[in-house]
């Protein structure tokens, strides 16, 4: 029993890692007022890029920056479309998802079924990993897990406790007034979309070179969509996203755990979406201003328009 619990916690942390990375990225992006539905696609691109680079060079640590660069590049499409060209963000984001899934499938074709010789090793944190029970579950994990938590906390601090954070949040709330205070709204939005893309690509890299060590087309398996749901579930707060991501990660693990007991995995797979729906309902009943939803999320902003 003890072992089952420990291994459940451990797998929960693993399953929550990509969710947390992608959610943090999406929160930053949405806080600046840009809705990016392309997370799933960017994640797939990140996964395949990290995999190919790691496989060719044998260096997982080269796969990570490569994935980040790829995430940056494909997110630039969404940034140009939604900020410069003022296109509909839903359409552009969906297009990015399709593009990313298709492109990653094509790029990864020659690599299907070829496992990595070296994958990213788990790291044991000295002393802490020796703690009984939780030591192994929490402190002997993939570097991506630590990175995800550190990035989420940094993002929270950045958004809530720095000048730039105020500027980013103001941009999502009222770009016109923000521009009027001498802030470059377009620049901020570009930066946030691109950072969001980099985070999503990191989530993908975790899947292909740390979590598993092989590439399968469609291996993101809807995690990008869950990240978008998590953004709402966490009420656009990266600190809250940490807890939310691991709860959702736990549901992932439970799917397999409870299957032998006759509970349909489909029911559990539904839970993240169901709980997000409930949160959305609660938002619509409550005054949305008390929650953190950015007021101008997804709205096109044209300079100089009244």
């Amino acid at each position: 029993m003890e072992e089952i619990i420990i291994s459940t916690i451990q797998r929960t942390m693993v399953a929550g890692t990509p969710l947390l990375l992608a959610t943090t990225g999406e929160i930053i992006c949405e806080r600046a007022g840009i809705l990016n539905l392309g997370v799933e696609g960017v994640m797939a691109i990140g996964a395949v890029t990290a995999f190919i680079v790691t496989m060719t060079t044998g260096q997982p640590w080269l796969g990570v920056p490569a994935a980040m660069a790829a995430g940056f590049a494909v997110s630039l499409i969404h940034a140009v479309a939604s900020v410069t060209l003022q296109a509909n963000q839903v359409v552009s984001g969906l297009a990015l998802t399709m593009l990313g899934l298709g492109l990653s499938g094509m790029m990864g074709k020659p690599y299907v079924g070829r496992p990595l010789a070296v994958k990213m090793d788990d790291v044991a944190i000295p002393f802490l990993s020796d703690l009984p029970w939780i030591g192994k579950a929490l402190f002997h994990q993939s570097p991506f897990l630590y990175l995800a938590i550190v990035l989420a906390l940094t993002a929270w601090f950045f958004l809530e406790r720095t000048r730039m954070g105020i500027q980013i949040r103001s941009t999502g709330e009222n770009p016109k007034a923000t521009e009027n205070q001498g802030v470059n709204v377009a620049l901020i939005r570009y930066a946030c979309v691109l950072v969001g893309g980099i985070f999503s690509a990191l989530a993908g890299a975790h899947l292909s070179i740390s979590y598993s060590s092989s590439w399968v087309e469609g291996m993101t398996a809807g995690r990008g969509w869950i990240a978008i749901a998590l953004t709402i579930f966490a009420l656009w707060n990266p600190a809250r996203a940490i807890f939310a991501s691991f709860i959702f990660g736990g549901i992932f693990v439970l799917q397999y755990l409870l299957q032998p007991l006759g509970i349909s995995p489909n029911f559990l797979a539904m839970l993240p979406y169901l709980s997000t729906l409930i949160i959305l309902l609660a938002i619509s009943f409550k005054d949305p201003r008390r929650l953190n939803a950015p007021a101008r999320l997804g709205a096109v902003y044209k300079r100089g328009e009244r």
């Binding site: 406790r161 720095t162 105020i166 103001s170 709330e173 009222n174 009027n180 001498g182």
Partner: protein
């Protein structure tokens, strides 16, 4: 400590699409002085201040600070020069706290922990001006007056020596106005200068040292407030030649078309917007309703055309009671409507010209049978409107949003009068249009009236009222301050009536109406 001892704007000219918004404007304000800019809507006050704040560039003319010419390319440069502006519509982030809003606009906000560090600075600063605002409250929880104070703090923290206030009292309650005046007095004593934009005479007289009056983009007068009075300013603002009407032929008064009796209408905010308004309208007559925007004009127009429910009172057309009938029924009784905000209320922007040409007439026999529209007829009809009203467009299957405002308005007017209405309700029909389109539309209104219709014209443009109307009612805070013939001597006081400081007895015909 005060960087701006004297600010001058010299020979400022600015035009938009060939129309002068500002022409040869000279103003000057000194440290410790409050300058009032007085004028009707569209007189060019805000344009002038937007030039000073760096939002617009002047076509010609110069700005001098302490005698030295400066160029102000954008608001940031203007802030650095010591100029601050509080816009009529506040530039605040509603969901953020007061302190976050201040941090956003403050030029020396530290990167880390902006709130913690700014708090002390604001505290000591606001005690100096006696501002009392909870810095952690969200802006949406504040009253309009408090929000304005946040805006003022923002400009002062950035070191503004010259404060521009654009219509600062329009959203304030009487008490808040008093508090604002106190703050301005204190700033004045401190050596700040203030430019105060308003069309309200009382405030200008109370607050300002000096007043400059603008009309149609030009300076028409200026005076020390102690050397002038409200009547003098009102005359300047409206123009002395107001009673001189254009070449409008005097038509004999026809039969009564519309009678409105003691109607009360509630506005969007749930408060009374139209209070006990009564008037009558006759064939061959254009009846104007003058007033500053937001005094119940919109609600009155909507009540008569059936868009907004009437709480009490009666509206009759040709003796038939049409109170609270549906807009369609009212239209079928012969009242058509050229609404304000033509893009929002007058058209369906994404539809073609020919769809828009029959918006309220699709149910007429000639345009439809059963559920099917007769597009052949509709297109013919559209073409005839386009030729007759000179709508400039390359095709009738063009989305109407691609047309200019003037052409849209011509199509709307053409549509509304194509069925020879008994009464046309026209709300600000020429607002924002160029001279050519304006003249064209006004001629058509006169022509309509000559053909035997009545026109109820809502306008903020007094020239338009005097050019077109036989009689004019002045509306203030939902009430008629009086109904006068446009050739009545007393019409010179229309500015005072619009400001709500003078009420005229109605002429005997109207007075007898309520009995």
């Amino acid at each position: 400590m005060i960087k701006i001892q004297r600010l001058e704007m010299k020979d400022i000219c600015k035009s938009f699409q060939g129309i002068h918004a500002n022409k040869d404007i000279n103003v000057e304000v000194n440290s410790g002085e409050i300058l009032g800019l007085l004028g009707e809507n569209g007189a060019g006050k805000t344009t002038l201040m937007n030039i000073l704040y760096g939002i617009y560039q002047p076509d010609s003319g110069s700005i001098l600070i302490n005698g030295k010419p400066v160029r102000i390319a954008n608001p940031l440069e203007s802030i650095n020069l010591g100029i601050g502006m509080v816009h009529q519509h506040f530039m605040l982030i509603q969901n953020h706290s007061v302190i976050e809003n201040i941090a956003l606009g403050y030029k020396d906000t530290p990167f880390l922990f902006p709130r913690k560090i700014l708090r002390q600075k604001i505290k000591s600063f606001s005690s100096q001006f006696d501002f009392q605002i909870d810095l952690d409250q969200k802006v949406w929880q504040l009253s309009a007056g408090e929000q304005q104070r946040v805006e003022i703090i923002k400009t002062l923290l950035n070191g503004a020596d010259l404060l521009i206030l654009d219509e600062p009292t329009s959203v304030l309650t009487a008490r808040e106005i008093k508090e604002l005046i106190d703050i301005l007095r204190r700033m004045k004593a401190d050596g700040h200068s203030v430019i105060f934009i308003s069309h309200k005479l009382n405030e200008i007289m109370e607050i300002c040292d000096h007043v400059t009056v603008l009309r149609k983009g030009r300076i028409v007068g200026g005076a020390q407030t102690k050397d002038t009075d409200k009547l003098g300013l009102a005359r300047m603002m409206v123009g002395k030649d107001v009673a001189l009407t254009m070449d409008r032929e005097k038509l004999p008064k026809g039969d009564r078309v519309l009678s409105v009796r003691n109607i009360h209408v509630t506005g969007d905010k749930g408060v009374a917007a139209v209070k006990n308004v009564s008037f009558e309208l006759y064939k061959n007559e254009i009846f104007g309703v003058a007033g500053v925007a937001g005094n119940g004009q919109r609600e009155l127009a909507e009540a008569i055309t059936g868009i907004r429910p009437i709480d009490s009172g009666k509206v009759r057309i040709n003796g038939r009671d049409i109170t609270n009938l549906s807009p369609r029924q009212i239209y079928d009784y012969g009242i058509s409507h050229v609404p304000e905000e033509r893009i929002r209320f007058g058209i369906a922007p994404g539809l073609f010209l020919y769809d828009n040409a029959i918006l309220k007439q699709h149910h007429l026999k000639k345009f439809s049978k059963w559920y099917f529209l007769n597009y052949e007829r509709i297109k013919l009809h559209t073409k005839s409107i386009i030729t007759e009203f000179r709508v400039a467009t390359h095709a009738i299957n063009n989305q109407i949003r691609n047309l200019s405002g003037g052409n849209i308005q011509k199509l709307i007017l053409g549509r509304e009068i194509s069925e020879q209405p008994q009464l046309l309700v026209a709300s600000h029909p020429t607002y924002g249009l160029d001279v050519g389109a304006t003249r064209f539309l006004r001629r058509h209104l006169l022509e309509l009236c000559r053909q035997g219709s009545a026109v109820l014209l809502f306008s903020e443009d007094l020239d338009e009222i005097f050019e077109l109307c036989d009689r004019v009612a002045v509306i203030f805070a939902g009430e008629f301050m009086g109904i006068l013939d446009t050739d009545d001597e007393r019409i010179n006081d229309i500015g005072m009536m619009m400001a709500g400081s003078k009420r005229m007895n109605s002429d005997p015909v109207e007075a007898g109406l309520t009995t």
